[in-house]
Structure formats: C-alpha cells, structure tokens
C-alpha cells in the first residue's frame, strides 16, 4: 500500500470537508499541501499512515474496476486474451467480468459499433450504475476504423457516450488494454470528491441516462448526441 499512497499524495490537495456538492469552493493553492511528502514518509516509517477519505476511496475504487463482459468484434478476443493466463488482468483488480451491466463499473467498447448495435450499447451504458467509465478499445470504437466507410458503421462510440480512455490499435494488443486500464486507474485516483472538478457522477446536473437513438429510415435518429459530441470546426478548410 505504501507505494500507492505515496503516489496518491501527489494528486491530493486538502479541501474543506463541508463544501456543498457542486458549489465552487475557495481552493487552496495546490502548491502548498498541508504536509510535505518527506514528512509523510517519516510518519509512515513510524507506523502512522496519513490519508484522506478521498485518497483511500479512490484508491479502493481504482483497484477494483469491474468491466462488463461485453464483446463486440475482433477486439473482444484480445480483451478475453487480456483476462487469460498470459496477460492476467487480475493483477490490476479487473478480472471480475460481470455479465450484467448493473454490476459493472467499466464498459469496454471492444470492437465495431454498428448502427444496428449502437442503441443497445447506449442502453447498456444507461443501465450501469454510477460511477462508471468507458474505454473505447480499438480503431473501430474510436472512429469506425477500417470499416469507417461502411453504411452501417458508427464512426466512433464517442458520438453517443462520454469516453474516458481511447486505446488505438487494430486490434490493440492485450498489453495496450492493460496500459489503458492503468491510465484509467490514474484518472480515477485523481478525481476529486468535492469542488468544481468533481467527476460527473457527483454533480447534481449529471445526466445519468443518455438518450438512446432510434432506428430511422436510413440512419440513426439522431445520428449523434450533441450533448456529448459535436464536430469541431474543420482544422483547415479543404481546398475545393
């Protein structure tokens, strides 16, 4: 535990405990923590562990991320491989693949999301309890990948869901998935429980449920969720 705590300490800053949720609080400057790293180390050597609720809470959460057992396409095979003998995702506390979305914390979108499947994926996401995270695994989940030009292929799951981690590759190797998972753990460890930077699930205005698109005559209706994703302005005006 000591290593993890030491790492966590860097990302922690003290916060008045009674700040109302979602309200802006006067943030103390992060450069001046109440206790320095050296002092904490010294205390630890004496057998005294100093931590905060936020720290221990995030530490616990980040090491037991339960993914949803949900495979879409080729990338799912590599996801299974990551949980099998050689790569052993259990080392990172995520071996408990839950078949039910109600018990899962992490949606790994592993593969091509077709337009026929997209409403189902959004529905699964809605059924997951907060706090929940989403990893877009593979080129297809990020942007449609090699199948981008297909008429039935959604060009990136981020058009409907807030994606936390993108893992490029076609398919990403299991090591890449593990790396993505570690990035997610880091992200979880850095989350604040209070204050303006509090994560989505602690904000009162959080839309826990996202609108599920419907099947239209030629495309999904709507084709994207504007609250989650909007096309950025074109970087360079293409010469025509």
């Amino acid at each position: 535990m000591s290593d993890a705590t030491a790492q966590l300490a860097e990302t922690t800053r003290p916060e008045p405990a009674d700040t109302p949720r979602g309200a802006s609080s006067p943030t103390p400057s992060p450069e001046s923590p109440l206790i320095s790293e050296a002092e904490r180390d010294e205390l630890r050597r004496q057998g005294i562990l100093l931590t905060s609720l936020e720290e221990i809470y995030n530490w616990g959460r980040s090491h037991s991320v339960w993914p949803l057992q949900f495979g879409l396409a080729c990338c799912a095979i590599e996801m299974i491989a990551a949980s099998m003998a050689r790569f052993d995702i259990a080392r990172f506390g995520s071996e408990v693949f839950r078949p039910s979305p109600r018990q899962a914390d992490l949606l790994i979108v592993s593969g091509t999301v077709t337009k026929k499947m997209a409403p189902q994926v959004v529905r699964l996401w809605n059924q997951m309890p907060e706090p929940k995270y989403c990893i877009a695994m593979g080129a297809c989940a990020i942007s449609g990948g090699p199948f981008k030009q297909g008429y039935n292929v959604l060009k990136g799951i981020d058009r409907f869901l807030p994606v936390d981690i993108y893992i490029p590759g076609c398919p990403p190797r299991p090591e890449a998935l593990l790396h993505g998972l570690m990035q997610l753990q880091q992200k979880i460890r850095g989350q604040k429980l209070t204050g303006p930077d509090a994560p989505r699930h602690l904000r009162a205005d959080d839309p826990c449920a996202y609108p599920v698109p419907e099947f239209g005559e030629r495309d999904l209706v709507p084709p994207q969720n504007p609250a989650v994703w909007q096309p950025p302005p074109p970087p360079v005006r293409p010469a025509s």
Binding site: K116, Q149, Y151, K155, F215, E217, P223, P231, P238, S240
Partner: protein, 215 residues
C-alpha cells in the same frame, strides 16, 4: 460431370419450352453458368437436385448481383470500298447500346453424394424497380433460407415462396437496399481529422452541403 451444354439439352428434353441458356465465363477457371427463366426455375432446381446422375444436393452459395443499365459502346470494323478511289478500306463503326437493367441471383450447387460441382445457375429479375420477383429455391435447398433473405435485404430481390422473407442484416424499417450500385450512403462525415482519398472527398462534400453549396 457432364458438360453444361449437354446438361442444358437434358433439361430442355425434360422441360420443353424452358428458357435455359449457357453463359460462358471468360475467366481461366471456366466456371460457366446456366441462366434459367423464372417460370421453370423451381422445377428445374428440383430436377437438378433429384436427378441421380447430378444429385446436386448441396447449395453452397447464394448471392445477388446488381446490373444497372449501362451504356456500352461497341466497336465493329467494316470493310467498305472507298467511294473516291474504290480501294477497300477499314472503317470503325461505333454503336451505342443500353444494357438491360436487372438483378441477378447466383446459386452455386455442388454434389456431396457424388462429390462434383459446381453447377452455377442464375435467375434474373425483369428489371430493378417493379419486377423484382424470382421464385425462391428454399423449398429445394434449405441452405438458401438465410442467404436469400440476405439478397432480399441488400439487393431488394423478392423471393416468391420463401417462408420467412424479412430483412436480416439491416433493421426492419430501413429503406433502400445498400448493396445496389446506386445506393447513396448516409452522410456522416462530419469530422475527419486525417482524411484522405475517398474519405477526403466525402468530407469535402459534407462541408459543402453544410454550408449550403452544391457539392
């Protein structure tokens, strides 16, 4: 296995008046095919399956092909005497011709009992718009069940006598048949960070449309 020409003779002897033609295949494999008219298709298919010499009991592959109307220019050479000098001269004549538009369903048949094949049969629709029905061969070969549904879904050929003709890959309520050659895909090229080739073209068209210009 007997050559297709001979097989055609046998079919015609059995079904006088049936419309069966041999379509040669110019590729080196030489998998020629039989184009079969719609009226006798079901009976001929049953004959092909039950005939003891052929016993084509296994229908491997069913697929659709879309042949829209195309303009082909045929060049023929004619030799005519030159009007002034009278010496023969070669002229090139170009004739424009419109190919008929139709949808085609191709069946690859093999025999598991006799281990030969393939015999390829093709059914053609009248056109691509309103006469798109062909008889379903699912009652003969159960293997056609899903594949014919797929041809219906993606090409819009309706199979008469198919027990369960619904869309199979796209959702119910989808309009259009995506594998046709004139299908227009939905325009969702809003953002292409690294566009090139086809995608770049489509992204530019999308941008033009969004700005109200003609692409």
């Amino acid at each position: 296995m007997e050559p297709l020409v001979q097989l055609r003779e046998r079919i015609l002897a059995r079904f006088p008046g049936a419309d069966v033609t041999v379509l040669p295949n110019p590729a080196p494999v030489g998998q020629d095919s039989l184009v079969i008219g719609r009226e006798h298709a079901l009976a001929i298919a049953r004959f092909l399956r039950d005939d003891p010499e052929l016993s084509l009991d296994y229908c491997s592959n069913v697929t659709g092909v879309d042949w829209p109307q195309q303009e082909v220019i045929e060049t023929t050479r004619v030799t005519q005497p030159d009007p002034t000098t009278g010496t023969p001269k070669v002229y090139e004549q170009k004739t424009k011709r419109l190919t008929p538009a139709f949808l085609e369903v191709v069946y690859h048949l093999y025999s598991m009992a006799r281990q030969h094949g393939p015999v390829i049969i093709r059914l053609r629709t009248g056109n691509r718009t309103d006469q798109v029905a062909v008889p379903s061969l699912t009652p003969i070969w159960r293997a056609c069940e899903f594949q014919e549904r797929e041809v219906f879904d993606l090409f819009g050929v309706t199979f008469e006598g198919h027990p369960d003709l619904r869309r199979i890959l796209m959702w119910d309520g989808f309009k259009d048949h995506p594998m046709r050659r004139d299908y227009v895909e939905p325009d969702d090229y809003e953002w292409e960070p690294t566009a090139h080739d086809d995608v770049l073209k489509k992204a530019q068209e999308h941008l033009a449309r969004a700005e109200g210009r003609q692409p």
